[in-house]
């Protein structure tokens, strides 16, 4: 059974300048213990989607579709039930641990916060649990008395992970958990998340703009562009041989170690991500696409099967169907 099943999720921000679609129809499902990586450049809607999973978006956001979490729709859930699901069902490892911790509270009492909120245990039991959690993420239990500023960046992120584990959730959403950490610490933190998730059978949604991080940690990868998933499939497959030109460009942006040519001519992608308030017609990627066809500004590609359990939203996956679609549409 899938822990998380998103179908046709859209998120629209109502602003003074009109409606801005941030997420435009996403279908995803995640089984128990599965690890999904979500990649994409800034502003593609990946964080918006992550926050939508627990209905944490500001009031100006309008959501449609459904987010089935353990068989319940998060979007229609009552406020009380939603609060119970938050953290006890699904927890979040936020990006920027420094700011996600209250600077004037000891980390022990901050980790105890969800425990005291969700389970009927006393202070002493919560304290013991905090000690266990800290040991679990590789920090000595006595560090519970420390203030956030007394910890290093990596230690703070460990605290955030301990906090995410506090209520034994079935899903952890990690929103760029390793941003602003140096590569060594980054590797440690990723290892830690990986092992804890595997140990406890927790499902993981990991969000990053760093495809290599995701390919390393996750089973499946989804690549977002302009509020949609443009490619989805087994992690190794997507990283090595992406079908969508955007996915391919993301994967190609990493230099191959030991290959001097990739270092001398780093490949990037020209152009900027589209303005969500003013999306290009047809395939939203066509203005930047290196393999654009002349009808790409007229058809809106869907996630079509692209072999090996992968899906991609590009006419190159199914040239015949793409062509027939164009022929049906009045130009």
């Amino acid at each position: 059974m899938s822990v998380l099943a998103i179908s046709d999720l859209t998120v629209t921000y109502r602003t003074a300048g009109g409606d801005v679609p941030a997420v435009r129809g996403i279908d995803l499902s995640l089984g128990a213990g599965q690890k999904l990586g979500l990649a994409g450049e800034s502003g593609c809607g990946k964080s918006t989607m992550a926050l939508a999973l627990l209905r944490l978006l500001p009031k100006t956001a309008r959501m449609t579709g459904s987010i089935m979490f353990d068989g319940e729709d998060v979007l229609t859930m009552s406020w009380g039930r939603l609060r119970a699901v938050r953290w006890a069902g699904a927890s979040i490892v936020f990006q920027g641990a420094m700011h996600s911790l209250n600077a004037v509270q000891r980390i022990g009492s901050q980790i105890a916060e969800p425990i005291l909120l969700h389970s009927k245990v006393g202070e002493a039991a919560a304290r013991r649990r905090v000690g266990e959690l800290l040991e679990h993420v590789g920090l000595p239990a006595r560090r519970a008395d420390a203030y956030p500023h007394e910890l290093s960046g990596g230690q703070r992120q460990r605290v955030m992970i301990a906090m995410a584990l506090a209520c034994d959730p079935s899903l952890i959403i990690a929103d760029e958990p390793t941003t602003a950490l140096d590569v060594m610490i980054q590797a440690q933190i990723l290892k830690l998340i990986e092992s804890l998730v595997a140990e406890n059978g927790i499902s993981l949604v990991m969000i990053s703009h760093d495809l290599s991080v995701l390919a390393d940690t996750c089973d499946r990868l989804a690549i977002m562009y302009a509020g949609r998933i443009v490619e989805e499939g087994p992690a190794a497959e997507v990283f090595r041989a992406a079908r969508h030109p955007y996915g391919a460009a993301l994967a190609a942006a990493f230099p191959t170690i030991g290959d001097p040519s990739s270092r001398r001519s780093p490949r990037g992608l020209a152009g900027d991500p589209p303005d969500p308030a003013d999306l290009p017609a047809g395939c939203t990627f066509h203005p930047r696409c290196p393999v654009r066809l002349d009808y790409c500004d007229r058809i809106d590609p869907q996630l079509w099967p692209a072999g090996d359990g992968a899906r991609a939203a590009c006419v190159h996956v199914l040239p015949d169907q793409g062509l027939s679609l164009v022929q049906k549409e009045p130009a």
């Binding site: 953290w87 996600s100 911790l101």
Partner: protein
């Protein structure tokens, strides 16, 4: 000042640990407060006034405030029996000052309590919930903000009668909006921080966010505002009493100055009648302000750096 070694403290259980922690925090606060000489001076002056007010019945004679059986003859200058002279009824000025400190401090504390309680409550509510309700709340605040406390005092005195309660209510009602604005601004700043989002994500409700995260963060501002507000309230009370809006039977400093004006103390050069209550007001207000500044200095690290 040390609360035992960490090991013994940890063995003593969480409650003891919490108390040891609190003691340490207070000790640290006091250490930093002590470094501010002006604040220390304010605290000493304040302690003297509070002590005097509390001991008023003990240190003055039973008939000290009696108009029908006054201890001395009216409007005498300073003498051995009456170091600061007597008022128009023949009562000792010193005794009047002592009893006046009771009124001033009572009004100061209660009016401040009303102001701070309402201001903090509305400030946090408006800052936390935002949107439409907050708009209405803040417009109401603005309405109270523009209401002059003197005019309101006159109206309230006419409606509720001249009493200390009237004055306390008038001051409280007109001064809470300042606190509310201040607290709301701080609430907005705190709510923008990511740990508030984290608190919401981990299932915290409105009450949890407001009490666990917002309130501790606005408390320093509230505390400083409290001490400054007490001084202000005492000043307004004196103004009310001077204008004859106070309870005519209580001997407040403002009322004493008004009585001095009535008998023409200035033109008759009866300095002992008009100066001492004025200086007392200035001293108390100054003491509160100095304490407030000192607390602000300890709690606000930016101010601390500038001082050292």
């Amino acid at each position: 000042m040390s609360a035992g070694t960490p090991a013994t403290v940890a063995a003593a259980g969480p409650r003891r640990l919490a108390w040891a922690r609190r003691r340490r925090t207070v000790a640290r606060f006091w250490r930093q407060y002590r470094q501010n000489r002006a604040g220390l001076f304010g605290l000493v002056v304040l302690a003297l006034f509070v002590l005097t007010a509390l001991l008023a019945p003990v240190i003055t004679a039973d008939n000290a405030l009696s108009v029908t059986q006054p201890p001395g003859s009216p409007l005498d200058g300073p003498s051995g029996d009456f170091p600061l002279g007597t008022d128009r009824s023949g009562r000792s000025m010193i005794d009047l000052l002592i009893w006046g400190s009771r009124v001033s401090l009572t009004v100061g504390f209660w009016a401040t309590f009303i102001s701070i309680a309402f201001g903090t409550l509305f400030g946090i509510l408006a800052g936390h919930f935002g949107g439409w309700g907050s708009m209405v709340l803040m417009r109401v605040t603005d309405w109270f903000l523009v209401m002059p406390s003197l005019v309101l005092g006159v109206v309230l005195a006419a409606v509720m009668g001249r009493s200390l309660t009237t004055i306390i209510v008038a001051i409280g009602v007109t001064s809470w909006p300042t606190t509310a604005r201040l607290v709301r601004a701080q609430t907005l700043a705190v709510e923008a921080r990511p740990y508030i989002e984290r608190a919401r994500a981990l299932g915290g409700g409105h009450w949890h966010v407001m009490s666990r995260h917002v309130l501790p963060n606005v408390m320093p501002i509230v505390l400083a505002q409290t001490t400054l507000m007490v001084g202000q309230a005492i000043l307004i009370e004196s103004t009310f009493a001077f204008l004859g809006l106070g309870d005519p039977t209580t001997a407040s400093w403002g009322a004493t100055i008004q009585a001095a004006r009535d008998v023409g103390a200035v033109s008759s050069r009866m300095w002992w009648y008009i100066l001492p209550p004025g200086i007392a007001i200035v001293l108390v207000v100054l003491a509160f302000t100095l304490c407030g500044r000192a607390i602000e200095g300890v709690l606000n690290p930016k101010l601390r750096e500038r001082q050292s």
